[in-house]
Each structure stands twice: as C-alpha cells, then as structure tokens.
Symmetry: C2
Subunit: 219 residues, 2 copies
Amino acid sequence: MANLSSKTIERLIVYRRLLKSLLDKGLQNIYSHQLAENTGFSAAQVRRDLMVIGYTGSPTKGYNISELLSSIFELLDPEGVLNFAVIGMGNLARAVCAYLQGKYPRYKIVAGFDVDPYKVGRVIAGVRCCHISEMGRILQENAVRAVVLAVPAEEARRVAELAVNNGVRAILNFSPTMLSLPADVYVEYVDIGVSVEKVAYFAKKGRSFNTGGSLEEQE
Amino acid sequence: MANLSSKTIERLIVYRRLLKSLLDKGLQNIYSHQLAENTGFSAAQVRRDLMVIGYTGSPTKGYNISELLSSIFELLDPEGVLNFAVIGMGNLARAVCAYLQGKYPRYKIVAGFDVDPYKVGRVIAGVRCCHISEMGRILQENAVRAVVLAVPAEEARRVAELAVNNGVRAILNFSPTMLSLPADVYVEYVDIGVSVEKVAYFAKKGRSFNTGGSLEEQE
DNA sequence: ACTTGTGAACCATTTCACAGCT
DNA sequence: AGCTGTGAAATGGTTCACAAGT
C-alpha cells in the first residue's frame, strides 16, 4: 500500500510473469527462496517486496501462487484495457508490436505512425500505419494513454510533446534523447546504444560481475 | 581511477555520446550545468562523475570538450575493435544490427545465428546468418567476446552457456530470462516486456514522475 | 559573479539476523 | 527444522553547500 518504488514495481512485474507460468504448470505454492532462484533477486528482497504489497504467506507452505498473483494484479492493474500507439515503425517498433500483440491481451495497439510513404497506409506487424500528421487526431479519438517512441533522436522531442498534448501520459522511449516533459508524464528510457556500449566495456575489461545473477559464490 | 559503479559507467557513455555530437558542431567548452540540461542528470551528479574519472575543468571555461572526451574514452575503451555476434535474428536483433553497424566502427558483428532454415545462409541486416550448430566454432575462430542474445526464453539459458563456453565474456540479454553464469561473465538485461508493463502501470495510475528528467519543479 | 571540486549530509535500497509461527 | 515478516544495520548513490579559483 505504501507507495511502491520504481524498482519494486519492476520486480513485481517479473514475479507476476514467473508466477503466471508456474500456475500454468500446475504449481500451487512457492517459497521466497524459490522465487529468488528463478528471478535472480535475493530471498530477502523477495520477502521485502511481498511485505510492501501486503500479501502474507505461511511459514509451512510459503506463498499461495494464485492468491499472490491476484494481489500483484490488484496493485499493478488499476483498470482494464490500455490503448497504445507506436511512433516510428522501424525494426525496434516492430519487435515491440510483435511482443505486445502476442502476449498482452490487456493492451491494444490502436495505430502506428511514420512518415515513410512506403509504410503509411500499410499494415505492419499487425498494426495499421498512419502518417504522423494524423497522430494528434487519432490519439485523441482512441483515448491513447501510452506510446512507444522509436523515432530518430532529432524527432523525439517534438513528437513526444505532440503526443503529450494529445493525452498521452506515459512513454516508452527508445530514442537516445532525454525528454523534458511535464512531471506527471512518465518516461521509461530504454537506450540500446548505451546497453551495447556497456556490454562492450565489460567484455573488454578483465574481471566483471553478474548483475542480478544468483550471486551464490560459485563453489 | 577508483572502480566505477555501473551507474557511473552508464552516465559516462551518455556524456560521451553527447560530447561527440557537440564537438562535431564545433563547440569547445561546456559547463556541468549544460551537460546536466542535455542529459537529464543533475549538475552535481555530472561533477561527481567527472571527479571520479579524474578529469578536471576550469571554473572559468568549464570543461574542454575534446580533452574530456579523451579522458572518457581512455576509461571506457581499454583496447581496439571488439567482435560481436548476434544470436537469434528476429526483429529486435535486426534493430541492434542496424544500430551497431551504423554508428559503431569500434564494434564488428562477425555473424548472426538462428535455426530458421529460411534465414540461415542469408545476409540479414548486413549480417551473415549461420546455423546455430556452427556457433561454437565461429565464436572461437573469430575471438568473439560479446553477444546479443535475442532468442525465445526457453532457449536462452542453453545458448548463453554455449556462448560462454566458447569464449564470450559479456552478453546483452533481450530474452526474459535470468541467466546463471560464472560471476566473471557480465550480463546486461534489457527486458522489453517489463518496460512495456511499467509504462502501462504509470499510464493507468493517476500521478507519476519523470525518471531522469530535469526535475526542476514545473511550477 | 559564476564556476569547479568535494566533504558531509541525506536519501534509497538491500541485506542481516532473528523472533515467532507451524 | 525451516519458513515468514521485519526492525536494524549496512551499503550504495545522490544532493547539499561551500571553500577556492578565476
């Protein structure tokens, strides 16, 4: 109930995904250390997270998977279906479309936008691609509240503002640009260039460390 | 010189990218607060980061861009060219290939791998696609030290181990799976599913916050 | 006057370690 | 005996605030 930190939310999302698949396999209960093994977080971390969401397990059985799932859903999923749009229909965007359409019935992609005349008017990765000049209208008409932004760096700022002015409240930003938007708009930055460089750095360096791995000292 | 935290490294990578583009525009000097404005970090944070890398500016001119760039390069770029491979040639992988080939002459993609017979033997996004059964040999022959892993969750663990057994030291992991690898292998996790869910969460919620934005209270 | 560099304070997050339950 | 729930400690990261330089 206390307001969850961004990190906690991330982990809850991971727990939820895992728990769903365990439930599908017919599992009923799980201990914190098992959740830990499967996610790479520590058992103490898991217990702490579940503590803040207020779900409580039993020392003998651990956590009841379906109850825990409901608790997490209750926290993460305020309401029903959420309308997305995708801005910039490159490879990355198409990957996200495939992703969203495959596994997330709770989310709907109402349109994609691009300027490339070859793309406009076509259906790409299952998404109708419109010209970006129509964006404002379409976002409004469909009450789109979240967008995936995957346009070149130069465009990102302008397009993001346009989106926000038409009702968007959260952005998944793949372009390598910091957005300056009103404080009530959430921006999740995914910067693949930075990730590549980071991996390159650690690949070149001698010794490095697992992030988020099960850090049991080998041996 | 002190060992840099992962967060600091990330920011250095961002500074470097920005400084490069400023240098191209003919800029010579920059103040910490300008770096801050452009990256979304705080000015104090910028100064702290530059402090730990040991580069020192002047109170009148700020930081000399090209000198600062050299300092950052010195820290982030131990040696020359790094060989990458890409495992799983889906949309996401192609996006990364485009990325790497466009802007990163310091990195070379020696091969892509997949099991799809339609892809094997072809050149996809500028990368020769080979069957995954040839992976071990090819990684070794080309001294590949870093891979992009973009395969389905079920395959990820097995394939990652195979890569590591053939000399890979760092992995950019796009599959939604925690990898348990020796502690000297670095894994950077990019989980697009989690990012989407996070954005969805904040889009639905009433009030939320900019991450990494310039947090000057709007007012 | 406006900057940098930085000790110290602050805040966030994680882990420890153990009481209490079954 | 082995788990959960949780204060308390520890760690990690960021910001404050100011001396010192120009």
